[in-house]
Amino acid sequence: MTWTWFHRLGSPPYVYALAERLTPWFAWPAALLIVGGLWGGLVLAPPDYQQGDGFRIIYVHAPSAWMSLMVYTTMAVAAAVGLIWRMKVAHAVAASCAPIGASFTFAALVTGALWGQPMWGTYWEWDPRLTSELVLLFLYLGYMGLRAGIEDTQRADRASAVLAVVGVVNVPIIHYSVTWWNSLHQAPSVMRLDKPTIPASMLVPLLMMLLGFTLYFAAILLVRLRAEILSRERAASWIRAEVFAT
């Protein structure tokens, strides 16, 4: 196996151009999947036999919660790659992830509260799942605050990468919190080892939303990554051609 592809990913102008080219290939399928998933979830799926139409919150809550964890994992992996191979582009990826992940963690908490009130009788409970998800929001905010507080980009990269890598222990805690401890929150219906426990008419729109949000994340990340690369490559000559071209 050759490692050329990996070395190329260390080259800012290569990654910048690649990110620009790839963005629409993620953005358009994401838009189609999300619109289709919304239609399926709000219109086609039948009401739940216990929760009626209230269960439809799942189509925004589960994708937001999935994003909160998936984006964090991406950020931690990128941060680790940046630390190990001293790869500037990897640090740029990690830095680009944080605001996206923080905003979807916020969405997961708010949609969860709006689901909790009618079904559990409370917006908030200091429950393992809810509390660990709140800790995730603070990890994102801490990461962003730490970066903002260190002027030198390289030092900010390294310090924030350590925080991101250490914080990743929270990801399995969130995922397994509902099985390890007694939680108000239900156990997973889709992300489980055996078959999902919901019927296809409810499951298919949910899978479309999950995939749609994932592709959407890739598109947003690529746009943010370009901004991040531009602000890091202060003197490089390829930037001149890039920013004066249009």
Binding site: P47, R56, I57, F104, P118, V223, A227, E242, F244
Partner: protein
């Protein structure tokens, strides 16, 4: 149609949940684009200054 918006009595929870998520989805697009526009403008300014110093 009325029944759809009523969401079986859960309208007060379902629609705000969708609204918040949609807002986050749209804001992320706006923020990402703005970050790129700003980074480009800043790079242009930086390069102009550099060119000015040389001449």
């Amino acid at each position: 149609m009325r029944a759809f918006f009523d969401m079986g009595g859960y309208a007060a929870f379902v629609w705000p949940a969708y609204a918040v998520t949609l807002a986050v989805v749209i804001l992320n697009i706006v923020w990402a684009r703005r970050a790129l526009v700003r980074a480009r403008a800043e790079a242009r300014r930086r390069l102009d200054v550099r060119a000015g110093e040389k001449s």
